[in-house]
Symmetry: C2
DNA sequence: ATAAACAGCGAACGGTGTTTGCAGTTTAAG
DNA sequence: CTTAAACTGCAAACACCGTTCGCTGTTTAT
């Protein structure tokens, strides 16, 4: 029953005694984000982050309880890069899709973000700001907040899906070594097509419009 | 240019010389799946899989080129558990949603599966069978195979989203330590609701129906 | 018969997250 | 002002990880 630990957001950044820490959570998160941006999440090790800050791995545990805490910090720092102001005054659907597009470019700038948002992630204050901003935009929608949060969660998932598929522009044939013309005739035929049909111009917006108008009640 | 390696499906399971191997890819995958089911993906180490098979970690490299190969084997083995026969004769939308439901229960039985399907996964023959089965069901739809594959991918993503959110039945307050009544009034109010409204009876089916009827042309 | 290809195994290598003990520093309490 | 508690930083160590290597023995093609 004591397997889990208190999330980092519930612990004070520093105590009231002792010398002033040489680093801050924000600086640690920023250094880790830089490493992840250039080398992927695998490049974010306690030692690499520590050496980027000019300290040692063990010293990081004065700031973090575990590597998971570091990931929580990174997630919140990245989501904190989203635009914050701009409470828009248009139609809620279009406003919300604007937010989704902002999230998409964030996911493309930080490809490690979706995989770092894992089950067990403890979301920080900047992420809560994001959720709040979504709810504000959805204010005109007459559904319950629970339903809205479900719709937001589904949207975030779809955005991650688009960000991931945009990373692999054309499926390399390496991923399809296992298809045989006999067992998979339809699939095999599809892979032989040399010039695929022109892609939907705005599949992203189209998909989200479909999903949201179905999931949330239209304001009459 | 030589950073990537040939996927395991392109290599023969065994050569033509030498003694018969004591294990098989299928047995290795099965052992790894059992470990992941009970202890999560983190419990799947070369040493743990090897010891489950009564051998040593180094010996596994006679069968696998890397741990990634092991994950590829696991993914294909799990997806291979999906029902295979039953080419249904109903409406394509309902038939496809049946497949999606089968995938959902598979994801719930193997919670490690979505995270194991990573960018770079090389899909095996059982997974190709699954794609083929999806395409067969979508045969009556007049869209291009490319569009259908996009719809399938989006469906798989949505199913993973549902499987993940079903794993966390009620968001524990630990995940929301960072919300403050001042900065997040709407969110804060939503978390105070003691009895949330009864959830949509079949949000899963509803969502997929919405998504698929929008993404794919209705058969006229 | 010979040589190549292969299986199995134990030891080792570099890397990982994390813990621990210690020395030095700052602050709160007596 | 003194003292003790709380705190920081650091180096070393621990257990574990994926992976490689060298070796012995076995099977098969030539």
């Amino acid at each position: 029953m004591a397997g889990t630990r208190e999330p980092i957001w519930a612990r004070p950044e520093r105590g009231t005694r002792g010398p002033q820490p040489e680093h801050s959570r924000a600086a640690i998160a920023a250094a880790a984000v830089v490493l992840a941006d250039s080398g992927g999440l695998g490049a974010v090790t306690m030692r690499s982050v520590a050496s980027a800050l000019g300290t040692s791995a063990g010293s990081l545990y004065r700031y973090l309880g575990s590597r998971e805490d570091l990931l929580d910090l990174m997630v919140d720092a990245a989501i904190g890069e989203l635009p914050r102001g701009d409470p828009p005054a248009g139609e809620w659907l279009e406003d919300f899709i604007v937010i989704a597009r902002e999230l998409l470019v964030l996911y493309q700038r930080h490809p490690w973000l979706p995989e770092t948002i894992r089950p067990g992630t403890s979301f920080g204050p900047r992420t809560m700001d994001f959720f709040e901003r979504c709810l504000v935009v959805l204010e005109p929608v007459p559904d319950s907040t629970t339903t809205k949060l479900e719709a937001i969660g589904m949207t975030v998932g779809v955005v991650a899906q688009f960000a991931a598929s945009a990373g692999t522009p054309v499926p390399p044939e390496m991923l399809f070594v296992a298809v045989t013309p006999e067992a998979h005739p339809t699939l095999h035929a599809a892979l032989l097509v040399t010039s695929p049909p022109p892609p939907e111009p705005d599949l992203f917006g189209k998909t989200l419009r479909i999903l949201l108008t179905g999931l949330l009640r239209q304001v009459s």
